[in-house]
Amino acid sequence: MSARYAIVLMAALWALLVPSVALGQLLSPGPLAAGHADLEGDDKCGRCHSTGKGVVSSLCTNCHVNIGAAVASGAGLHGRSFRGQSCAKCHSDHRGRGAALVRFDPKSFDHGQVWKLGGDHAQAKCGACHKSRSWLGLGTACTSCHKDPHTGRFGACLNCHDESDWAKVKIEKFDHSLARFQLKGAHSQVACENCHGTPPRWRGLDSGGCASCHHDPHGGRFSKTCTNCHVETSFKTIQMKAGAHPGLSLAGGHVRLACGRCHDKGIYARPTKGSRCSGCHQPVHEAPFGNRCDSCHASIKWLGLPPKVGLAAHEKTPFPLHGRHVQTACQKCHDPAKPAQKRFRELAFDRCKSCHSDPHAGEFQKRSGGECKSCHTDEGFKPALFGPDLHASTPFPLVGHHVATPCGKCHQNHTPGKRRTAWNVAERACVKCHQSPHGDQFAAEVQKHGCGGCHSPIGWDTPNIAHERWPLTGAHASAPCARCHRPTEADRKSGKGASYQNTPRDCESCHADVHRGQFRLTKPVKSCNACHSTHRFVLSQFDHGKLAGYPLDGAHRRLSCGQCHRLEKLGDGGRTTRWRLGYRKCRDCHADPHGGGQ
C-alpha cells in the first residue's frame, strides 16, 4: 500500500467518523453533563483529573467551594455523611449532556443524616423547604424557611415555640427584656394576665403610653406622658422632667426654684402672678422688643442666644443688619469681654470707626468727616465706590487713558514698611509718572506748557502739532510720526529718543530709490517730485514727451511701458526697470526691413 493511498484512506475515515465533533473533544470518553459543559475540551481535562490520580475531589471543590467548605467543616450532608469519599463515586460524569450529576431519591433519603425532621416537618413536602434547584444551602435554623415575625428580637424560635404546635408558647421561658416594653420597677412584679389579659394576647398590645393600661387620675389636665412627672417604681414619687412643666419651661434658672415660689396657691393651681415672664421679671431691653420674652428666650436662657434669634431681633434695633454685618459673628460687635451693659445697651454704633479701624489713617478726614459711607458699603470693604466719577471731585480728574489705568499705577505705597496705599498724590506733573521719550529736545516747551502742550491723556501718539515748517500732505498726513522721526544711532546711544528737530526733509532720507540711481546719477538729474507726488507713488499721468523728451505717437501710444522699458538684472543681483533707455533711433529697437538707411 502506497503512502499516498494510506493518507487518503485515513483522511477519508477520519472525515466520516468525526464530522461534527470538534477536535478538542477527541480524547473525551463522552460528553459532560450540562452543568459541566464549560469544561468540555481536551485542554481542560486537568480541571477535574489529576495526573495519575484520576478525578481528585480537591479539584471538584476548587469550583464547588461551598461543598468543599461544608466537607472541611463537617457540615451539611456532604460533611457529615460523605467526608473523605471521592466526589466521582456518586457524581459520575461523561455520561452525556442530559445525564444527571446528582442522582438523588428524596423518598428514600434519610433526612436525619443532615437534620432530623421533627413535628410537622416530618409530614412536609420536600419542595416546601427546598425551593431552589439545589438541595443544598438550607440552614437548620427555623428562619432558613420560616419568616420571623419577631424580626430576630427574641433569639432562637424553639426557646418559646414547639416544633409540633407552633401556637403553644412556653411563656415562662420568655425574656421580657427582649420585648419592646421592658419590665422595670413595679411592672416587674405584675402578673402577665394583668397586661396580656385572659386568654393572653401576646401581639398587638399598645405599649406606647401608660394610658394603655392605667387610668389618668388627673382627668387629662396634664400631658399624656405620665413619665414626665411620675416614675415606674411608684406613682406617688414625683420627678418632673425639664421641659415637662405645663405652660412654662423649667429649664435654666427655673429648675432651681422651689414649686412654691411660683405656685403660691398649691402645685395644681396657677400662680397668682400669671405665667408671663414680665409677671416676675423686669424688662431690660431698650429696643421695643415687646413683652413676649419667650419668643426669644423660650429656653429660659438670657444670654448666649443663638445668632438666628439675635438677627431676627436686630431689625427692631436702631442698627438693622445688612450686607456683611449679617454674617458677622455677634461677639465681633458685642464683645463678651465687655460688661453686659457696655456690650448691648451702651454699645456705640453711630460711626463706622466705632467698630472698624481706619485703614487710611485719617487720610480722608476732610472728605465726609472721615465717614466711610462715601466710598464703602456694608456689602464689603472692597470694591470701593470711589471711581472716575468721584475722582472728578479731586484736583486730578481722570481723562482718556487715565480712566482705564489701574489705581495702583499712580497710588502706590509711598511709606516704606507699611502696606497702606497713599491716596493723596501731591505731585501731579506728567513726568512724575511718565518718562519723557524726547530727552531735552522740548525742554523749553515743557517748561512753559508741560507735556500737555503737545500731548493729551486721550492718546500719546496723537499729538497736537501744526507741522507748519514741513506741511504733511498726501500719504504723509496719515503716516505715523515714527516713520519719519526714527531714532538715529546717535539718538539710541544718547537715549533721548527720536529727533523731532532738524529732521532731513529730502525724499531720499526716508524713501529708498527704486530706480537704482537712474535719475540721480545720470544727467539730467531729476528730483522725485518731478514725476511723483506725496499722494501716490505710482504715476497716474506721465507726459512722455515733456518729461522724457520722446513723445509717444502712432503705434507707440498703444504700447505698454514694459514693452520698451524692460526689467533688467543688475550687477549686484538686483532687478530694476530701465527707464532711461539711452537710444532714441528707430533701428535701436526695430530691424531694418530695407537693408540699410536711417
Binding site: 500500500m1 502506497s2 493511498y5 494510506a6 484512506l9 485515513m10 475515515l13 477520519w14 467518523l17 468525526v18 465533533v21 473533544q25 477527541l26 480524547l27 473525551s28 470518553p29 463522552g30 460528553p31 481535562c45 483529573h49 489529576s50 495526573t51 495519575g52 490520580k53 484520576g54 459520575s92 461523561h94 455520561r95 452525556g96 445525564a99 444527571a100 442522582r103
Partner: protein
C-alpha cells in the same frame, strides 16, 4: 479446517460466557448502570471491564507477532500457516474482549473510531483469509508433462502451445494497489479465456492432421487449458491478496495508534487498572 471450527467454537463460548456474566449490566442504559451491582466491576474503568480491555489489547499486540514471523521467513519459528492461525485467533478473541471492555457503549469519537477500525480490521482479515484460500495452486509440472505427451503424439503440438502461452503471460500491475488490481481484473479475465482458447484451438488445428492421436489426448487437453487459465487466476488473486493485505494493515495500524492514544491518555489520567493509585 479443524482450526477454524475450533476457533469458532472457542469464540462463541467465550462470548457467550462473557455475555452471560454481564448481560444484566450491559442491557441497562447508562443511568441505570450506575445503580447496578456490577457497575463497580464491569464498567470500562473498573477491574473486570478494564481487564477485558487490557487482555484484549495484549492479544491484539500478540497478533502483530505474525508480521515479525513473516519478516523472519528463514528462521525456524514454526510454519507460517500455524502463525496465521494464531494471528486470526488472537485477533478475533482480542476484538471480542475489546468490545466487552467498551461495555457496548460508543460515547466518544475516539471510541467510535477505534471500534470501527477494529471492525474493519476483523472484516478485512476474515475476507483476506478467504481470498487466501481461493488462490489456486498452479501444477506446472503436470502442464509440462501433458505438453511433452502432446509433442510425442501430436507432432509438435505441445511445443506450439508452449510458444503461444509464453507469448501471452498474465499481466502484473505496476503498483500493487487495490485500485490497479480492480482495474486489471477485466484484462485477467480476458487473458484466462485467451490462454484457455490457445490450448483448445491449437488442439483443434492438430486434430485435423492427426485426428486419432489428438482425440486420444482429449481429457489432457482440457486439463491443460484449465491449468493455463489458472496461471492467470493465481497471479490475479495473489495481487488481490497483496493489495487487500495493505488495506488490512492500514486499519490495523490505525487501530494500534488509537489504542495507544487511549492507553496513554487513560494511564496519564490515572486509570491504571490494578495499578491505580487509590
Amino acid at each position: 479446517m479443524l482450526w477454524a471450527v475450533v476457533l469458532v467454537i472457542l469464540l462463541l463460548c467465550a462470548s457467550a460466557y462473557l455475555m452471560w456474566r454481564g448481560y444484566a449490566f450491559y442491557a441497562l442504559d447508562l443511568e441505570a448502570r450506575l445503580d447496578h451491582a456490577d457497575h463497580d466491576l464491569l464498567s470500562p474503568g473498573k477491574p473486570i471491564g478494564h481487564g477485558y480491555g487490557v487482555v484484549g489489547t495484549v492479544l491484539m499486540l500478540t497478533n502483530l507477532l505474525y508480521l515479525l514471523r513473516r519478516r523472519l521467513a528463514r528462521a525456524r519459528l514454526g510454519s507460517l500457516r500455524a502463525w496465521l492461525n494464531l494471528h486470526v485467533t488472537t485477533g478475533l478473541i482480542g476484538g471480542v474482549l475489546v468490545v466487552f471492555h467498551s461495555a457496548f457503549q460508543l460515547r466518544s469519537p475516539i471510541a467510535t473510531t477505534t471500534m470501527v477500525a477494529l471492525f474493519l480490521v476483523l472484516l478485512t482479515g476474515v475476507f483476506g483469509r478467504y481470498l487466501y484460500t481461493l488462490t489456486p495452486w498452479v501444477d506446472r509440472a503436470r502442464l509440462d508433462k501433458h505438453l511433452r505427451d502432446f509433442d510425442s503424439v501430436g507432432n509438435g503440438m505441445g511445443k506450439v502451445i508452449r510458444e503461444r502461452l509464453d507469448a501471452l503471460p498474465p499481466s502484473r500491475p505496476r503498483r500493487p494497489s487495490l485500485l490497479s488490481v480492480l482495474l486489471t481484473t477485466p484484462t485477467w479475465i480476458r487473458q484466462a479465456n485467451q490462454r484457455r482458447q490457445i490450448v483448445l484451438e491449437t488442439a483443434a488445428e492438430h486434430e485435423l492432421a492427426h485426428l486419432t492421436e489428438v482425440r486420444l489426448l482429449g481429457a489432457k487437453v482440457g486439463e491443460c487449458a484449465e491449468i493455463a487459465a489458472s496461471e492467470v487466476r493465481a497471479v490475479a488473486l495473489d495481487a488481490f491478496v497483496r493489495s487487500w493485505r495493505g488495506l488490512h494493515r492500514f486499519f490495523a495500524l490505525l487501530l494500534v495508534v488509537l489504542v495507544l492514544v487511549h492507553i496513554v491518555v487513560a494511564w496519564y489520567l490515572g486509570y491504571r487498572w490494578i495499578f491505580s493509585v487509590e
